[in-house]
């Protein structure tokens, strides 16, 4: 974007850069600064909405890596998130670890669990694997619901993170934990997918035969993709648990995992900006339905009291179907077209 016509890259280094011109740098820094002041001038609701958006983005980034890049569609992301949240909760509440230690550990533990979750990918692929991950979702949640250490059906209460005596107990304060982590995770994902490992993921996705011939160990990279994806889910789950201050099995249902896949499809499989588009699009749509539903109930009494739930799901289903049929490459593809056209401006091709 904003890359004026006629700017060429003189070195490979420059060709690889994400931020290309000095104008890009200025725009990036200014927007980051403005962004980080949101809690000071934005309403409380906006801040908390952005927090949930950011956590969802982290989880969906992980899903993008395993499903979008490595091609292993997983319906288990909600369960992996639950595991991350629970790990973090258990480590902080039962073992007295600090949040700052527990969060990365939750990521790593979930990642390791992801190796088990990803094990079926060694034998099966496509929707066989997708259904197997649904199975993994249910088995995981069943375990969380029945183990002593996870508080069984009562769940766990979680304390807010702390630095010294400063407690991150409001959404505005959590914003300053969640946002840097999200930006860091986005940066890492973006780099991961454009270097050696990322290319190997795409090779596995696009053509597993050729990938083998080119020296890529399929099993290693499939499992690595699951590890990375679950690491992201673990971090997201941990943040979510510490934001809502409670861990409960009913927070992470299969429906959540289905929404994540939907966000991926709407945003565009195999694109990091696509994650942002998808998450924001779907979440904003859902919020609008949620806000509009009381009015809808007033205007259309025959709908009864329940339009929000039903209409939200239906709207989601419709959007998903439309994208799958009309624009399977998602919003990210539209974005690329827009970028390309702005780059060529004022020439018209």
């Amino acid at each position: 974007m904003w890359r004026p016509c006629g700017v060429f890259d003189a070195t490979y280094e420059k060709d690889m850069a994400i931020v290309r011109t000095s104008r890009h740098w200025i725009a990036l820094i200014v927007s980051l600064v403005i962004f980080f002041f949101i809690p000071l001038y934005g309403s409380y609701y906006i801040v908390s909405f952005i927090n949930t958006l950011a956590i969802t983005i982290i989880a969906v980034l992980g899903l993008q890596i395993v499903s979008g890049y490595c091609g292993q569609i997983s319906f288990g992301q909600a369960a992996f998130m639950a595991l991350g949240g629970y790990t973090s909760a258990v480590l902080t509440q039962k073992f007295g670890l600090s949040f700052w230690v527990a969060m990365p550990l939750a990521g790593i533990f979930t990642g390791l669990y992801g190796l088990i979750g990803g094990a079926p990918s060694m034998r099966i692929k496509g929707f066989y694997l997708a259904i197997a991950t649904i199975a993994i979702h249910f088995v995981t949640l069943w375990l969380l619901l029945h183990l002593e250490i996870t508080g069984k059906s009562v769940g766990l209460t979680v304390d807010s993170p702390q630095i010294g005596s400063f407690v991150f107990d409001t959404d505005e304060r959590m914003f300053y934990i969640i946002m840097p982590i999200m930006i860091l995770m986005t940066y890492a994902a973006r780099n991961l997918v454009r270097t050696r490992v990322g290319r190997a993921f795409v090779a596995v996705r696009d053509n597993d035969l050729a990938a083998q011939v080119m020296g890529i160990n399929l099993y290693y990279y499939k499992l690595l993709a699951f590890f990375v994806s679950c690491f992201y889910a673990g971090i997201a789950g941990s943040l979510y648990a510490h934001l809502t201050m409670v861990c409960h099995p009913e927070q992470f249902t299969l429906l959540h995992a289905l929404w994540y896949i939907g966000m991926l499809i709407v945003g565009g499989l195999g694109s990091i900006p696509g994650v942002f588009f998808g998450v924001v699009f779907i979440r904003v749509m859902d919020e609008i339905v949620l806000i509009a539903s009381p009015y809808l109930a007033d205007w259309f009494p025959w709908l009864g009291m329940a339009p929000a739930a039903g209409l939200g799901l239906t709207a989601f289903g419709v959007v998903l179907a439309v994208f799958l049929i009309k624009e399977p490459r998602g919003l990210a593809h539209r974005w690329e077209i827009l970028k390309a056209s702005s780059r060529l401006y004022p020439f018209a091709y």
């Binding site: 909405f49 809502t244 409960h248």
Partner: protein, 406 residues
């Protein structure tokens, strides 16, 4: 290129419009009761009529001029049993001082809200978890907590057992949802049952989406249960009874439903299956509810529905509405109608002891030490396709305090 830009601008405009809608608030001066409820998930059978009851009662009061001119607006939000949606809906209004009370019908959402609302002393209405009574805070239950209702049922069972002239201990089992709610009644209820000399069998807990209950029922049959206390929100009890009848267990076992059990609707679906089931309830059921003048008036004049579509769960909501109006009236009396704050409403809730709920339920029992909304229950029995009372209001024992809470 232009084409695409325009499309994107439209999307952007929509987003900004959406953001604008988020931040908009209700008209000034009114106060708001926010209802985070589940109208389509597992607890919808209870939450939907309940919410209607509260909404209609508040409308009814507003139509009569409100509380000394102060109107209480009802804001219902379907959480789809999803914590994230509930949080985001609540957070949208968290700083809105007009919101003086929140209703929640979901255990995980309730747990999350504990952390969010504790400091501000925002009144939260919840169904009946005993832990709120054990650790008094800003959460108020609609009626007696699950433990106490279960304990009252144990009393009834012991009487019934004696009346039947049986010897030995009655074998009692709980058949309920495999979640926090399903286990709650035993946290205290278990101790009470043991003290009273009933033999508690291991609980049978099943997931909320279960469609068939054969396995659990056959196991209870094999264990020789005499009384089975069925938890869940209708139609769960109806479904359990359908399966129990199909397996021929209703003759051997007396089934007793928790107070979210079958309403007139469930009974009309499976009248034969439900025959003989006992229901413990803190709100009016059956003909008593249909004949209640206030409920009748609200349903036919505010809701504008014929009585044959009436659901007794409506009465729960009306009861909660009476509590809220009572508390707001008290606050207005104490501090004047322009100084109604969350904290003052909370303080008024603690002074509601003895509030008359027009016979919809027992007298209100909120007090500085008590968060349970009532201390009486009534026993009903399904007879001839109708649900008829078999006792008058019965005092519930205190079972919550028998549990060793963390």
């Amino acid at each position: 290129m232009r084409n695409h830009s325009i499309r994107w601008l439209v999307v952007l405009a929509l987003v900004i419009f959406g953001m604008g809608v988020f931040t908009s608030t209700a008209p000034a001066k009114d106060i708001i009761f926010m209802d985070l409820s589940d109208y389509t998930g597992p607890v919808a059978g209870l939450a939907l009529p309940g919410s209607m009851g509260t909404e209609d009662y508040l409308k009814y009061i507003n139509n009569k001029g409100g509380v000394e001119g102060l109107k209480i607006k009802y804001m219902g939000i379907d959480t789809r049993y999803d914590v994230a949606r509930a949080i985001s809906a609540f957070k949208r209004q968290r700083r809105n001082k007009q919101v003086v009370a929140v209703g929640i019908v979901s255990t995980p959402v309730g747990k999350m809200m504990q952390a969010l609302t504790k400091k501000e002393k925002l009144v939260v209405h919840v169904p009946g978890d005993g832990e709120f009574q054990a650790h008094p805070g800003n959460f108020f239950t609609w009626g007696p907590v699950y433990q106490d209702a279960f304990a009252a049922t144990i009393d009834w069972i012991m009487d019934d057992w004696e009346k039947k002239g049986e010897s030995g201990k009655p074998k009692v089992a709980v058949l309920s949802w495999d979640n926090a709610y399903g286990r709650e009644m035993l946290r205290g209820g278990k101790e009470y049952a043991e003290m009273k000399g009933a033999q508690l069998l291991p609980s049978e807990l099943f997931p909320t989406g279960t469609l068939k209950h054969d396995v659990y029922l056959t196991r209870l049959d094999k264990a020789g249960a005499n009384y089975v206390y069925v938890g869940g929100v209708d139609p769960v009890q109806t479904n359990v009874m359908r399966d129990a009848t199909a397996l021929g267990l209703t003759e051997k076992i007396q089934f007793i439903s928790d107070y979210w059990g079958p309403t007139a609707l469930g009974i009309s679906l499976h009248p034969k299956a439900l025959e003989g089931m006992v229901v413990v309830s803190f709100f009016l059921r059956g003909q008593e509810a249909f004949d209640h003048p206030l409920l009748k008036e609200l349903w036919t004049t505010v809701r504008k529905q014929p009585m044959d579509k009436f659901n007794e769960g409506y009465g729960i909501g009306v009861g909660a509405g009476i509590n809220l109006v009572g508390a707001v009236t008290d606050t207005v009396k104490r501090v004047g109608k322009n100084k109604v704050t969350r904290e003052e409403v909370h303080n008024s809730y603690l002074r509601l002891t003895g509030l008359d709920r027009q016979g919809l339920a027992g007298r209100c029992t909120y007090s500085p030490t008590r968060r349970a909304g009532a201390d009486v229950v009534k026993f009903y029995k399904v007879t001839g396709g109708k649900i008829v009372p078999i006792t008058d209001w019965v005092q519930t024992p205190d079972a919550v305090s028998m549990h060793k809470w963390k």
